[in-house]
Amino acid sequence: MARYSPTVVDHFTNPRNAGELEDPDVRAFIGNPVCGDQIMLTATVTDGTITEIRFRAHGCAASLATASVLTEAAQGLPITDLEQWDDAYVTSLLGGLGPDQRHVATLGRQVAHRLVRNHREGVDDEAPLVCS
């Protein structure tokens, strides 16, 4: 396998939905304090469906691609569907990950779950949370 899947290459080189919504209904922010990978999602949710979503990300190419892939996959879905996502699903969205890149699947899964939880509980992330 090449170091990066074609999907990772594509989303790193041509990121989708980059940026931050000005007045989002929900925001989720996850970061790893050691390696510095960070993903922040902002979304507009109408009748329980994600109608608009943006990301800001810092870190390795795979984590930037993860953020981009997540937004593309989440757009148009009922927000609660994201709670079903696990590391394997995020990995599949990315077209596979090398052994040294698998931490980004966890980062992606956690920020997606955080988005659901923050929306349900009406809370906001003001600072990056620690990715476990």
């Binding site: 090449a2 290459v9 790193f12 050691v34 190419a61």
Partner: protein, 377 residues
Amino acid sequence: MLGCPEAAFRQADGDWQASVTEALRGAFAQHAEENAFYRAQCEAAGVRAEDFAALSDLVRIPLLPVRMFKQPDAHVLMTAPLTDVELEIRSTGTGGVPSVARRDTTTTSRVLTAIFAQYREFFGIGNGAGLFLCPSTAETPEMGMVKAFNVLNGLLDDHAYVVRDYAFDPEEALGRLDAWEDRMTRHIIGPPFLVGRLLRYLEMEDITLKLDPGSHVITLGGWKRYTGESISREEFNAKIEKYLGIPAANVRDMYGMIESNMLAMECEQHRKHVPPWSYISIRDVEDTDVELAPGKTGVIALLDALNTGYPGFILSEDVGEVDHTPCPCGRTGQTVSFRRRLQGAELGCCAVSIEKFIDSQEIVAECEVPQAAPAEG
């Protein structure tokens, strides 16, 4: 040149000027042709490869501010496609946002060859044991400082990394040194703050060691801690001599940054030699288009001919100066001195990341409420 450091570091001045100019002109031409983002900078500045005929022309090479490597859209910096990228090296400063430098296969081969050759040239190490006061590459595979130290590891017969899970145990370090005694020449490698911690422990415990005649202490990383406390080099050298028995001539610091392949290593005169495939241009703090003469203090710009993955022409946030006078060690070219970070720049380097995290762990440990002993019976 990369594989022949003895000759490369001893070129006559005219030859050095011609070769570094030629190498950087070639690197510039590649990036200006193959990198749309950089080409736009070059067109805006009105410069072409033909403009760089002499060393004094290199000031016109457009520079990438180092903070661009922290931006989410840093992919625009790339000359090579991601499919050619082999290593992503990162550093996280006090701000928490990582700077990521992506090295393609060609750059990786070149820089590993260069660093390996420089270790041989400057430290003459080919055997012995290394006590690495840093995490292993297994624990932090993308940390630039650790990666650079790990190349040195390849020259040694044995090694131990004594920072694990971001905790440093000086007793374990001493145990390792003890186990190698009378078997191998012992070297200590790490960021200054961790060597400082080892020295502090020896001082507090009133332990003095006498390492071996060829032992070195090799450091890389910040001399100013993120807490703001500075480490004096003279005091550092004196304590190493007192507590480790290693003379100042064998205490060697290095200077580099993860965004550049330039790694300047100290000779026995404690001058950090810029490798002849790189050029350091000191810029006026008020106007970074203006190059200052050797000896003048300003912003450090690093021009690196090894980089094919992205333009290796970096305007750093470090302040220092270059010296172009002959070094008593016999090596030619430039030497560089780092003075401080630019005002307003965050403290950011691998050593700071490690220190910040070790300290946070220790604070957590200190604040933990001791668990009550289980009731007996």
